[in-house]
Symmetry: C2
Subunit: 311 residues, 2 copies
């Protein structure tokens, strides 16, 4: 068995790389800039060069490396074909084959970044011990990654786990980035939490949220301080997320939800607002699910990418 | 490779059995009564006896049989343990081990009946050619079975695909069998369609539905005849089912939905009412899904049970 594996997480601004032992110990991790100009044509050559440099630096030959896992911000099918990654300038092509060609035939596996991060959390993060789990990322948007029997659920065109656009409110007037109205993402993302707070602050209730910059963090800090407007926002957040995750559980019946992303920095207080609504909407067989916090932060992607190759 | 396989579908009234060649050709199919008295203790011995009798009748030895697949009306985990099957009087026990013990160690695999039927439709029914699909059964309730990469998604406690209790309406007053309000099943099952029709018929609009027995079939027959009340009911049905399936697609991103059960006898006219709502609520990556009718009817269970063993 090979001793080492690389995990690569390609983002719109930087590419994160990790060099791991097969047991998951990190030997080294670093970043390079993502060069998105000219349809992002330099991205994979840059990644290949960076990997080869690291191997030289460590005195490692190809035989000692199981392969390279790659997470991409876009839908990726089971063959490693990306179907448009807007933030990278990429269209449709086979990432695994292309990068493997640049790495002298080394094995490459590619997945959607949210799905890959979910695998990382299962392997070494908040989802350890579970084989059926849903990772939920509450960041600028709401992302999801679904693990069934220890494996990523990619779906037909790599859009498995795109739970941010599940419809949860019939009476929404604002339009979501996806052009629909009433998507989970409009209430449970960092952006959504701020939107809810702004809406409530149009009234004249007193609130510490009227001072300083409005952010999801500010809202949950104010919740802990007992601010009534912030608590209303947290309840709305919990209502929509609880309702949305109940629908997810009705489909895949997971053992656990692992919650990450910027909003999750508020900590376990989130669960107090999510669980009551989740439990009231979910089918009884999925009521006793575990709620956990993600623990790997921005490193979940490189861990999961590495794990894809080892599986 | 073994030449033959048995598929068994245990229902609350009858047990359906099928004796197949490994390529899926039916050699024989038959039924026996389900004896649910005394906690359903006679059910598996009856099944074992019926299988052994069939083998004697056909002059087949154990070596020629790959095994026995079983579908059960309740949640079944990956080890073959059923977690309460109310309609059979069963509590919690390992169905696969028990039946195998009664069959001289023959291989037995067990799954939830809706999931097993989904596998049957994929193998020999309306889902042929798909590896990622969702079977939706519109009967007394709304059942679901999810196939990912050709395999059943069972979930943590065998409740994967229980899509009938996804919440789709905030303003429902009637209570669902699961004790919640606003479940998909309250609108898209045969019972739900009749409930919607009764509600509309409380008004004084003319309708052919005022004559004769009210059923889902009567409603869709009246739709074809242009009856306005029936068309309103079909639109409500399509709205809720389209919205619910959009949520399902947001989770698993299937290639196809395969619609079966009593309501599906209305035929492809159903799709005209489901698709517009589905397309308006679904995340764009899942918009181009196929809608197909199930074709195996009540035999889907025995086909899928047999296929479980062959996989």
């Amino acid at each position: 068995m090979s001793q080492y594996v690389f995990g690569v997480d390609i983002g719109g601004t930087t590419v994160k790389l990790g060099f791991f032992e097969a047991n998951g110990n990190v030997v080294d991790k670093w970043e390079i800039p993502t060069r998105t100009e000219n349809g992002g044509e330099a991205i994979l050559p840059d990644v290949a060069e960076s990997i080869q440099k690291k191997m030289q630096e460590k005195g490692i030959t190809k035989d000692a490396v199981a392969g390279v896992g790659v997470g991409v911000p876009g839908p990726v099918d089971a063959d490693g074909v990306v179907h448009v990654a807007v933030n990278l300038g990429w269209g449709v092509f086979n990432v695994s084959e292309t990068l493997s060609g640049l790495l002298d035939g080394m094995e490459v596996k590619t997945g959607n970044d949210a799905n890959v991060a979910a695998l990382g959390e299962m392997w070494k993060g908040g989802g350890q011990g579970y084989k059926n789990m849903v990772a939920v990322t509450l960041g600028t948007g709401v992302g999801g990654g679904i693990i069934i029997n220890g494996e990523i659920l990619s779906g037909a065109v790599g859009a498995g786990g795109e739970i941010g656009h599940i419809h949860v409110e019939d009476d929404e007037q604002d339009i979501c980035g996806c052009k629909n109205r009433g998507c989970l993402e409009q209430y449970a993302s960092a952006t959504g939490v701020v939107r809810l707070a702004k809406r409530k602050l149009q009234g004249d209730e007193e609130s510490v949220l009227r001072n300083g910059e409005l952010s999801a963090k500010a809202v949950f800090d104010a919740v802990k301080a007992g601010d009534k407007v912030a608590i209303w926002v947290a309840q709305q957040f919990g209502y929509y997320l609880g309702k949305g995750l109940a629908a997810v559980a009705g489909v895949v019946n997971p053992e656990a939800f692992v919650i990450g992303g910027g909003v999750s920095k508020a900590g376990e207080v989130l669960f107090e607002y999510i669980k009551p609504y989740y439990e009231s909407y979910v089918f009884h067989a999925s009521r006793n699910v575990d709620f956990k916090l993600a623990t790997l932060g921005n490193d979940a992607g490189i861990y999961g990418a590495a794990k894809m190759v080892l599986d």
